[in-house]
């Protein structure tokens, strides 16, 4: 194979200037690691959010429309409208039940940012009021039991972990400066739910609706209605039907499903990922400059050799090929080492920053490494193009005469 001789000349040239070549390749290693691991991080974040949202893909949330036009909520801010006077009333709930006849409809009272006191520590969380049978339908319990007794409460996993709560713990709800707080007793803990459309128990306390109305008033003035759709294929249909029915006269509710939220989240994530990847790409640009530099040096040093090669019958494009091989070798070595390091680095980043490596092994995540490697090699070849062109177009006599 004729390719062999040019390739082997390139390999030998790289070996002759091992340190210089190694340093240039190191730049590529860093660049590839930068873009690949940023890509992996972005993909893993997206995948994990997508997965937690699609676990709840069968949920619809019906929210009253606030005066300022709601519906722009992001990152689980499902309580954003609960502070206004807007609410979903009994008739509307009845309409919803009529439409979602096959599905579970859970009207929710909620109060966000309530002060609670655990032991002598104060914090804030969301208080949900649900009918006991709705709690059974809408919340999964990891420990303890569903609502029982007059002051029983179910507590979310985040609060549980943060304050090392156990069954029987007491929590005071309400600001002590504004009258006597209500005291509840933990009867159960809710499973971690992650991101969801409505009724996110992770950082919340769930009490009986009756208790909630006793404390806060507003009977039948629900803050939100959660619909757990039995057939996932009818989610959009059901949502549309509800919106149509309830907004017939005027805009009173908005219905959201997880896909809208998913879109929001993934689009802002991808903006963020592109941004950090662009920063990573700068390091690749620096690497490209150093490859260019090394290739120019190599061509200048080998000018006489190139003259000899040309004079004994080597064609321009064969010289071009030889120099491009050299750049590709640097790119290949740098990118492959970079790829291996991205693999390790990406895994570590997922472990440290996301504490979750489940999605690391997915093709969508690993493809970032392949992309990084390909971009690394391509950049090296690109950087080698001008030096190669210069070498190929040297005047053989000039090249032979140079020292």
């Amino acid at each position: 194979m004729i390719g062999d001789i040019f390739f082997s000349l390139s390999v030998r040239s790289v070996r002759l200037h091992f340190l210089r070549s190694l340093l240039a390749a190191l730049g590529i290693v860093i660049g590839v690691v930068a873009i690949s691991s940023m890509g992996i991080l972005g993909t893993n974040m997206t995948l994990s959010i997508t997965a937690s949202l699609s676990e709840n893909a069968n949920e619809l949330s019906v929210n009253p429309v606030s005066g300022t036009g709601g519906g722009g909520g992001m990152f689980g801010s499902q309580q954003s409208e609960s502070d206004d006077d807007q609410c979903i009333d009994r008739d509307q709930v009845r309409d919803i039940r009529r439409i979602a006849i096959q599905d579970t409809v859970i009207p929710i009272y909620s109060e966000s940012g309530e002060t609670i006191t655990i032991g002598d520590e104060e914090t804030r969380c969301t208080i949900y009021g649900l009918k006991p049978e709705d709690v059974v339908a809408g919340i999964k319990i990891s420990e303890g039991s569903y609502l029982k007794g007059s002051s029983g409460a179910i507590v979310g996993s985040e609060l549980q972990e943060r304050y090392s709560l156990h069954i029987g713990s007491r929590i005071k709800i309400g600001d002590p400066d504004e009258g006597t707080p209500h005291i509840v007793r933990v009867v159960g803990f809710a499973e971690e739910k992650g991101m969801s459309m409505a009724l996110n128990p992770d950082n919340a306390i769930i009490v009986d609706a009756k208790l909630f109305v006793d404390w806060y008033g507003g009977e039948y003035e629900y803050d939100q209605v959660l619909i757990i759709v039995s057939d996932i294929n009818t989610v959009t249909e059901t949502g549309d039907a509800i919106e149509e029915q309830l907004n017939r006269k005027e805009e009173t509710v908005s219905v959201r499903d997880s896909s809208g939220m998913l879109e929001n989240v993934t689009s802002s994530l991808s903006t963020m990922t592109s941004f950090v990847t662009a920063i990573g790409a700068i390091s690749l640009l620096v690497a490209a400059t150093s490859i260019f530099n090394v290739m120019m040096m190599s061509v200048t040093e080998r000018i006489k050799e190139i003259g000899i090669l040309r004079s004994i019958g080597t064609k321009k494009r064969e010289i071009l090929k030889m120099i491009l091989y050299e750049a590709s070798i640097l790119g290949l070595v740098g990118s492959i080492i970079g790829g291996i390091m991205s693999f390790v680095g990406g895994y570590l980043i997922c472990m440290i920053m996301l504490s979750d490596t489940t999605y690391f092994w997915m093709p969508a995540s690993l493809v970032n490494i392949a992309n990084g490697v390909v971009v690394g090699i391509a950049i090296c070849i690109f950087s080698g193009m001008y030096p190669a062109w210069r070498a190929a177009n040297l005047d053989p006599i000039e090249a032979l005469r140079s020292n």
Binding site: M1, I2, D4, I5, L9, R12, S13, L16, K304, E305, I308, L309, R310, S311, I312, G313, T314, K315, K316, E318, D395, P396, I397, L400
Partner: protein, 225 residues
């Protein structure tokens, strides 16, 4: 003998345009060289000997005038065709040997063969050639930097011969060698000439020029005899 010249120059002129004024390195040189001739080109330094050889070797193209190699007017050839002509029809032997430092002696000789045949030599042709110029298989594995000047020139001769070109161009082939080694190289060139190759050799040394059938003297870019 054939009547057609293997090399013919017709009013070949080579001008190097410089900022300080044009340098006329060759001034309307006309010359015919018949197959099998052994020609020595002599003349003072800077008279245009190397320039003339480079035109004949198609390393350079004349500013004006015509040059035929084996009956082909090189004016009409593309860069690729000129390169092929150099590879197939012309063997070069330089004063400074000009071996490729990254390749072993064997690989240096094999290189033009690979360019021409796109595959490695399986017939033992290259080994035979190397031993015919006095390079044994152990020396053949050495890099040029590990060879003496005489050994390097032998390798360079083997490389020039590997594609069996009809024309050998030698620019002061013994210029960097001691006189004994120089004479050995000349014996080698002479026997190659006896095998029918056309040899054109630039030299300063009239003893060396004595090996040639014909001596061309050049001065200020013109043939004077």
């Amino acid at each position: 003998m054939e009547k057609n010249p293997v090399i013919r120059l017709e009013r070949v002129k080579k001008v190097y345009p410089l900022a300080s004024g044009d340098v006329v390195a060759l001034d309307s040189v006309s010359l015919s060289i018949m197959p099998g001739e052994f020609i020595a080109i002599m003349g003072p330094s800077g008279s245009g000997k190397s320039t003339l050889l480079n035109q004949i070797g198609c390393l350079d193209t004349p500013t004006s005038g015509d040059l035929w190699i084996s009956g082909i007017n090189i004016r009409h050839l593309s860069d690729n065709e000129l390169t092929d002509l150099r590879r197939d029809k012309i063997g070069y032997i330089f004063q400074n040997f000009h071996l490729i430092p990254l390749l072993t002696a064997y690989e240096n000789v094999e290189y033009p063969f690979l360019l021409q045949n796109h595959q490695h030599d399986k017939s033992g042709h290259i080994s035979t050639l190397l031993s015919s110029v006095g390079i044994d298989i152990y020396l053949a594995e050495h890099r040029p930097s590990e060879l003496s000047g005489g050994q390097q020139q032998r390798v360079a001769i083997a490389r020039a011969l590997v594609n069996n070109p009809p024309i050998l161009l030698c620019d002061e082939p013994t210029g960097n060698l001691d006189s004994k080694t120089g004479l050995q190289i000349m014996e080698m060139l002479q026997s190659l000439n006896e095998q029918g190759r056309t040899i054109i050799m630039v030299t300063h040394d009239s003893a060396i020029a004595g090996y040639a059938d014909r001596i061309i003297v050049i001065r200020d870019g013109r043939i004077v005899s």
